[in-house]
């Protein structure tokens, strides 16, 4: 195996509260190659904060420390804000939960996709237009020339999220971080969007971190899964072996989900005392 794309050792994120600093991520370590990694956890597990700290998006008074946080050899923590801007978008991209808040409402979709290229490359204008168009086609938008002239409010949620993915992937980054990319979408569109993302990530050989609360979804689209709870990784496993998970928290999560052919009278709930005492 070659040197990892991302190497994280003892990452800690903390925020001040009236009762002292509280660590929301407590010493998380993992490495990532050109593979698809899923981070699963419930709200407050620190999964989103982990994703954000890779891009140095934690604002003060939040504080990020780590023994090591390197992205293809670059020490992220020592990068200046200006150097980070060159990395964000160009080498690491992030897809957020809700396209409504991530797209600029007063810019056309075409202009926003082009913006991502203009900011990081010095391509001629016609080349930029061509690439933007191709990218929209790649996320299976039927009439890319028309959609490029539309404003975000004129497209549906599913299409908005596909536009987001196009925008994030057009500079051809090495790593894509997707934080709950489909939880604002309907189930039937979710699969479509994830399939597109999955295909692009595989074809371009990028690394993917898929952050989600949905165990099933993550196990379908990732190679490896980290399960987080209360700021710590409680379990790491190969996606296909999720059903054989050993940690009581993971097992509890799987059991708490209702099934399509539900026959249980009562759903088992998590008994948090089981592992929090340790």
């Amino acid at each position: 195996m070659t040197a990892p794309l991302l190497d994280i050792d003892k990452l800690t994120v903390s925020f001040p509260t009236p009762y002292g600093r509280v660590e929301v991520v407590k010493g998380v370590s993992f490495t990532l190659g050109r593979e698809r990694l899923g981070i699963v956890g419930e709200s407050g597990s620190g999964k989103s904060m982990t994703g954000r700290s890779i891009l140095k998006l934690i604002r003060p008074p939040g504080e990020v420390t780590a023994n090591r946080l390197t992205f293809s050899g670059i020490d992220i923590l020592s990068q200046s804000e200006k150097q980070m801007r060159a990395i964000r978008g160009a080498r690491i991209s992030m897809v957020m939960q809700d396209p409504k808040f991530s797209l600029n409402p007063v810019m056309t979709i075409g202009a926003q996709i082009a913006e991502a290229l203009v900011a990081h490359t010095k391509l001629p204008r016609r080349e930029i237009a061509r690439r933007s168009r191709d990218m929209l086609e790649a996320v299976r938008i039927d009439d890319p020339d028309r959609v490029m002239r539309l404003y975000p409010h004129e497209v549906s949620g599913g299409m908005g999220q596909r536009v987001m993915i196009a925008m994030m992937l057009v500079p051809e980054p090495d790593l894509l971080i997707a934080d709950e990319p489909t939880s604002a979408l309907d189930v039937s569109i979710q699969a479509q969007v994830l399939d597109i993302m999955d295909e692009l990530v595989r074809n371009k050989g990028m690394g993917l971190i898929l952050i989600s609360h949905d165990l099933e979804l993550v196990s379908r689209y990732c190679d490896r899964i980290l399960v987080m709870n209360a700021g710590e990784i409680v379990e790491e496993c190969v996606a296909s072996e999720l059903s054989a998970a050993s940690h009581p928290y993971t097992r509890g999560l799987i059991a708490a989900m209702p099934h399509m052919d539900e026959t249980r009278e009562i759903l088992p709930t998590l008994d948090r005392s089981q592992w929090e005492a340790t």
Binding site: Q190, R264, L267
Partner: protein
């Protein structure tokens, strides 16, 4: 007498029609799921039954009484609603005690303290939550408070608008268990609006699937569990939700 009955109901917002000729019946004590994706009109129908700012044409009746626009006290004591967003459904400046006491004082019911404490216990909340503000509670605890508030007037019918979709899986399980237990204890009728088929499978006896303002299929829960839905759209939804096709 059916708990909820809709006959050929059309609903429109201004010039756009959002529900077309909707008809279904929910028997007393039954739990009925109304399933669809965003924009299918499922929440609109729920709000029309509740009388929350929606006008409709056709016949709607609850427990045999035809619904008129608006909400009067008689209806309020028979039919209540639990909302989707546990963060938006509690008044941010009122303690849990004030939130739960409000329906009692609207209806002039006495023994507030006793009733509130009994209800907190029924929904599995400790007494010490009584004088807290909503921001001191977690999402699951807030949703328990919202359920408690809906039950304060001892209604027969509960309208549930995506009651667990904003919650974590483990908390969802707790709330679903709670709803199921309360339904059994108080012999409630549920009308559950959701996009989540497995939740329907756990909580409901029958379901209707909606698409673009129309009911495409009304099915028995057994049909859902065994994957024997007939309408093509229902099957599509079933597969997208992780159901296995036989």
């Amino acid at each position: 007498m059916s708990a909820i009955s809709l006959n050929n109901v059309d609903i429109s917002y201004g010039d756009t029609k959002v529900a077309f000729g909707t008809s279904f019946e929910v028997a007393e004590g039954e739990s009925f799921g109304l399933v669809g994706e965003s924009g299918s009109g499922k929440s609109t129908i729920l709000r029309a039954i509740a009388g929350l700012g929606t006008t409709w044409t056709g016949e709607v009746s609850v427990l045999g009484q035809p619904r008129k626009p608006g909400i009067d006290k008689g209806f309020a004591s028979k039919c209540q609603m639990v909302f989707q967003d546990p963060y938006g459904s509690l008044h941010p400046r009122k303690t849990i005690d004030a939130t739960l006491g409000e329906p009692l004082s609207v209806h002039g019911i006495g023994d507030r303290g006793g009733r509130i404490e009994a209800m907190l216990e029924a929904v599995g909340l400790d007494r010490r939550f009584r004088f807290r503000y909503p921001h001191q509670l977690s999402g699951g605890q807030r949703q328990r408070v919202a359920i408690a508030r809906a039950l304060m007037l001892e209604p027969k019918v509960l309208l549930l608008d995506e009651p667990t979709s904003a919650l974590d899986v483990s908390v969802q399980a707790e709330i679903l268990n709670l709803l199921k237990r309360l339904r059994k204890e108080q012999n409630l009728t549920f009308l559950l609006v959701t996009h989540n088929l497995p939740v329907v499978s756990f909580l409901c006896d029958r379901l209707a699937i909606m698409r673009q303002g129309r009911i495409v299929e009304i099915a028995d829960i057994g049909q859902l569990k065994s994957g024997k839905l007939t309408d093509p759209y229902s099957r599509e939804l079933y597969e997208a939700s992780g159901g296995k096709t036989s």
